[in-house]
Symmetry: C2
Subunit: 205 residues, 2 copies
């Protein structure tokens, strides 16, 4: 990787952690710059002008270019490595689980964790309050689908660890912060241990 | 493409349309099998057992294998074609917009279109009613971000049409079905015409 890699992050974010974990498993040097999203540090005029106009993190900086969206950043880092399957169908199937993660998993599990652990239930507005129950139901459905999938295999796709595992690991392993009952999902729990035992693994934070 | 391609679809779905449009632009033969999601035809025991355990469409069938998630299916079809940039950063940047589409765009714009055009506002439950306003705001933010991005370029990524354009086109061009004011987004409107004028383009439905 010829250009310097800088991760603009909040270290409590699983989306940021995915990128750090991918870099660690690949042995890539990654500079990390911290922002506190609860203090609006990603909504400053400087951040919006220079890093990401939408005010979101993570952003992976590659030299002078900026790449938002956690799963796209993981893809960028992992191209050509063993974290992306060489088989065409498996590669698309890996992306399938990464889109599932952003559509069915993160908006429910990560959002409830953010609301309940960092914002505080008493501080939620009426729109957020109304979304707790549908997000609970949808998050449980996502965990159940993963658990059934992992009942007959060690990894989400193919025979090896891939970005599908890394990106889904990030918020699954801290889902109790959103009051999900992780212990109900036995196959998921065994898979979490499998991911955490990989050489180069780093913990969140 | 050696194996037969079958799209399990509801022809009103923009997520299904993305895949059909990608195949059409690439000149790939694609058999289409129709289901009516409003009549529960993707929740039958047969569908859940054979096509997709989560009961969602689209699913791209490749021979005897099944690939859910619209953007992953588009990727599968387009690998090795001009619809995916050859530059590593641009390729990741294309995925960035495809994840943006599934996280910031589709859950707001497609969902409001589905609720208002196909379900009917009077038939929404209280959780859905409470989400109309936040989805309106988030959908407008997504369209505004696209409009600003397209103010200085013809295509979402690089100098050519890519999957970023195709996947974002699908629900943007019918966003008025969700009561979004498409005419407010001038650069988006010009870009929609650009996409629709591509050789091989097919309309939705």
């Amino acid at each position: 990787m010829a250009e310097a890699l800088i991760l603009h992050q909040d270290c409590r974010s699983g989306n940021c952690y995915k990128i750090a974990l991918t870099a660690a498993l690949l042995g890539l040097p990654l500079e990390r710059r911290d922002y506190d999203i609860l203090r609006g540090q990603t909504r400053t005029p400087e951040f919006l002008a220079e890093v990401n106009a939408s005010g979101n993190i993570p952003v992976l900086q590659v030299g002078t270019r900026f790449l938002p969206e956690s799963n796209a950043a993981c893809w960028y880092l992992a191209e050509g490595s063993a974290l992306i399957p060489t088989d065409r169908f498996e590669r698309a199937d890996m992306l399938r689980w990464m889109f599932f993660e952003q559509y069915n998993h993160e908006p429910n599990i990560a959002t409830l964790r953010f609301w309940l652990t960092f914002v505080g239930e008493a501080n939620l507005n009426e729109f957020q309050q109304a979304q707790i129950m549908p997000k609970r139901i949808a998050g449980e459905a996502a965990l159940k689908l993963m658990d059934e999938h992992l009942a007959t295999r060690d990894w989400m796709v193919g025979q090896h660890l891939s970005l599908a595992d890394i990106t889904l690991y990030a918020y699954t392993h801290v889902c109790e912060g959103g009051a999900f009952r992780l212990g109900d999902y036995h196959h998921v729990c065994r898979w979490l241990k499998r991911v955490a035992s990989q050489p180069g693994y780093v913990a969140m934070g």
